[in-house]
Amino acid sequence: MPRFYMQLRDGSEELLDPDGLEYADIDGLKKKVLVAVRELISEDVKSGVVDLRFRIDAENREGVVVYTLGFAKALDIIPEDRAHEGQHG
């Protein structure tokens, strides 16, 4: 199984993944990236500051980015002024 590394980056800093993990397929990798991003955001929420400038780049052994997920893309935020709809409305 191919190994991918989850690199955490914003515009200026990066935190490199020393171990990497093996994934059966790209969908499995994407799911893991989404879980990782949401978990990082949830810890940020608890601390009171969410920095949406970060992203996770999933790289293969050669350092080629095969998938990227920005923090802002990992969740839907419903603004307080939006009218309630569906089951809430």
């Binding site: 955490l8 935190l15 171990d19 993990l21 879980v35 990782a36 978990e39 990082l40 810890e43 996770i56």
Partner: protein, 242 residues
């Protein structure tokens, strides 16, 4: 006294730490038929559902106990190092309720369950030492429940590191100044309920606080008091014998 660094040495040492042994107890431990085996990394020593007829002592290397949810999410429930008895609950509980796996190449010694049980009945000091060992296991599990349930990511990871350092020191495997941390970030994550990226960010934060220096898997605690304070670590729950 058993020859240094043999499985018997570690077994005797462990039981002397957890109970008061007399010379006859130690002599009788020497008659146990220990079967030593070198095993590779990630070897499943016991799988949940097994009915083991022997108990396992770790004489070198590192191991963990873990459980898996039905969806396949893994939770490591304890780490183990040399001298640890890994599954003496099987003396009384037939079916393994969790799995046991090495995380590095390791040396284990298998002890026939019936023999160990007989020794525990015939030599009450040994029986008490084994009992106390399982109670200390219970104390460590309780601390882990608190750790995973009620501490934030940084405190949680720091606490796990502190426990690991304290236990390494107790069996002469390095000190806070420099110790080998054999777990991958994924394994640290499995033990703390975090993703490996989150573990990485958390270790970096501890590094940034000046509590810890890391160079791949070699860690150096720069300020032990600071790390313990950050981790809310009080070694009392280890009962000085783990």
């Amino acid at each position: 006294m058993a020859e240094l660094d043999t499985p018997l040495f570690w077994l005797t040492r462990k039981l002397k730490l957890t109970g008061a042994l007399e010379e006859e107890d130690i002599k009788r431990l020497g008659t146990l038929p220990l079967r030593t085996e070198r095993v590779s990394r990630f070897r499943e020593l016991v799988r949940e559902g097994d009915i083991p007829d022997q108990c396992c002592l770790l004489a070198a290397g590192y191991a963990c106990r873990y459980k898996e949810s039905l969806r396949g999410a893994r939770q490591i429930v304890s780490f183990h190092l040399r001298g640890d008895l890994l599954d003496i609950q099987h003396l009384f509980l037939a079916r393994a309720d969790h799995s046991l796996q090495t995380i590095t190449p390791a040396t284990v010694a298998w002890i026939p369950k019936a023999e160990l049980l007989r020794l525990a009945w015939e030599r009450p000091n040994i029986g008490k030492a084994l009992w106390r060992d399982t109670l200390i296991d219970g104390s460590i599990f309780r601390e882990w429940v608190l750790n995973v349930g009620r501490r934030d990511a940084k405190t949680r990871v720091a606490h796990m590191l502190c426990e690991f350092v304290a236990r390494c020191e107790a069996v002469g495997l390095g000190s806070a100044e420099s110790f080998e941390f054999p777990m991958t970030q994924e394994q640290i994550g499995d033990a703390t309920g975090l993703t490996s990226v989150h573990v990485n960010r958390t270790l970096k934060a501890l590094d940034g606080d000046g509590a810890l220096l890391r160079n791949r898997n070699r860690f150096q605690v720069v300020n032990w008091e600071q790390l313990c304070a950050l981790a809310e670590f009080d070694p009392a729950y280890l009962h000085a014998a783990a």
